[in-house]
Amino acid sequence: MEQPEQEVVEQTVSTNLPRLETTVKAPVTEPGTTIFDVRNVSIWYGSFKAVTDVSLPIYENEVTAFIGSSGSGKSTVLRALNRMNDLVPGARVDGGMHYRGTDLYAKEVSPAAVRRRIGMVFQKPNPFPKSIYDNVAYGPRINGIRNKGRLDEIVERSLRSAALWDEVKNRLKQSGLALSGGQAQRLCIARTIAVEPDVVLMDEPASALDPIATLAIEDLIRELKRNYTIVIVTHNMQQATRVSDRTAFFSVLTDSKNDTRTGILVEHGPTQQIFEDPHDSRTQAYVTGRMG
């Protein structure tokens, strides 16, 4: 008795909403190896609970997008995946966070070793004040590669993978800061993949860029998917539909009594399902632009 009624309600809602144009490809039928297994994770900054009870799997050679409004904890969860949150005084992670079966927060785990396998690209392009060459060679060098020929090879391969080689091959000795925003972000991606990580985390990698540069980065993300597992935080829902295989939608839980806002994971699944057939009304409101 209840089922058809609900359907009617949903239909009336959806007809009033603008239809979201998506270019989602067919969902990945069979997910690959689980790279991250996040189970009931809560993250605190001091006494402030930023995210509560997040559980989701992240699969190999896929692009997983985290979407949601500001303060929903997408970046916080992302930065917990390679222990960048350790750099924030007072940050604490509770729950199970496993990477290829290993507990990322076990006592004997070295954050530096974690980050060598799980790289990160930041919102604001942040090349070092060094030459383009030295920027890319930085990671290999701290990992002990000193051989000039070997470094040359890595720099060229990384810049090619980041679709930047042709633009900079004649000025590798120039400052990385002299590049445009889009180029600088591709340099940062080249720098990240130069250490041959397993996973690349991207925290709104295109939000500081113009549309053309954004498309270049998105092409690059689709290209990188072949060799890397990618997790991307984005405010841009079209971007999520364009680049990701799976999407996780985060929202804010407001407790008006204590005046606290905590991020929660509302739902996750194949991107097409999240955007075209969301199970949760909050997701539907968000992806159709009714909220946030």
Partner: protein, 298 residues
């Protein structure tokens, strides 16, 4: 209906009255301050050059011993021993103070965080900046000279004590300017903290650190008071920093300028000019080094 015809013209002329006057007054005060700053600067430089240039010659700069007070202008010998003394005493002081100061600042900014030790060191460094230089001289006199005698080394200790807080302060300010994004970028590539400091933070700040350090050196090179109690004075060159009394340009200015003889007075001016040139060269070097190291920052 008739909106267009009722449209008022917009007044885009410069605001008159009190606002314009305030602007003029502020501009005038600025120019006045600029000129007022220049007056002592130019006057000091002009006086020292005009009075000192006559004394300067190759033998004045290189040969010794330092002539006695009563010797006439152009007497045999020169300020060679004092120049050598200044270079070795200040040089060794820099060798002690700069690494220590830079490492101290690295601790305060990168490792200490908001801990009590880092805050204590930063606070003490600030207090030390305000300690008069003569107090530093007395301090070294009581803890070193009384036990081991006068030497260039004692002078180096006193100058190092003066330079240390300046180096800590200037380095700390430079490290604060290094954007946190750069540290994060390095951590994200798997760097340990020491690596981040050595390969990202210090290189990004090196230009400012070097110029701050050279400013401290230039200041110390001109200090007189801390040397009076620590190196005494000699007329002949003493290349041994570690034993025996020594001399320095600043000390020679002090002794010679006190005496009533024309020759001594002229040699004091000559020494003063030499000291100013040394400071000038150090500043120039600071600029060049800063430019060299910051060629990648834009």
């Amino acid at each position: 209906m008739t909106v267009a015809s009722e449209q008022q013209t917009v007044d885009l002329r410069e605001a008159g009255g009190w606002r314009r006057s305030k602007n003029r007054i502020a501009t005038f005060v600025m120019w006045f301050a600029f000129v007022a700053t220049l007056i002592p600067l130019v006057f000091v430089l002009y006086t020292v050059v005009a009075k000192g240039i006559a004394a300067i010659s190759w033998s004045f700069l290189t040969s010794g011993p330092i002539p006695a007070n009563v010797a006439p202008p152009g007497a045999a010998g020169g300020m060679g021993p004092a120049l050598i003394g200044t270079l070795e005493i200040t040089g060794f002081a820099a060798l002690m103070a700069i690494p220590l100061g830079v490492l101290g600042a690295v601790y305060i900014n990168e490792y200490g965080g908001k801990g009590w030790l880092a805050r204590l060191i930063a606070f003490m460094a600030d207090v030390m900046t305000g300690v008069p230089s003569i107090v530093m001289g007395l301090f070294i006199f009581t803890i070193w000279v009384l036990h081991f005698g006068y030497s260039g080394l004692a002078g180096s200790f006193a100058l190092a004590c003066l330079m240390l807080p300046i180096v800590i302060r200037s380095t700390y300010e430079m490290l604060l300017l290094v954007p946190n994004e750069l540290r994060e970028a390095s951590y994200a590539l798997g760097s340990t903290k020491a690596r981040v400091v050595l390969t990202v933070v210090l290189p990004a700040a090196i230009g400012g650190i070097v110029s701050g350090a050279l400013l401290a050196v230039a200041r110390a090179a001109g200090e007189t008071a801390p040397l009076l109690f620590t190196i005494l004075t000699v007329e002949a060159t003493n290349t041994n920093l570690f034993s025996g009394a020594n001399t320095a340009l600043s000390a020679q200015i002090f002794y010679n300028a006190q005496s009533p003889f024309v020759g001594a007075e002229q040699r004091a001016w000559g020494a003063a000019l030499t000291l100013i040139v040394i400071a000038f060269v150090l500043m120039l070097a600071a600029r060049l080094i800063t430019a060299r190291f910051t060629r990648y920052t834009r």
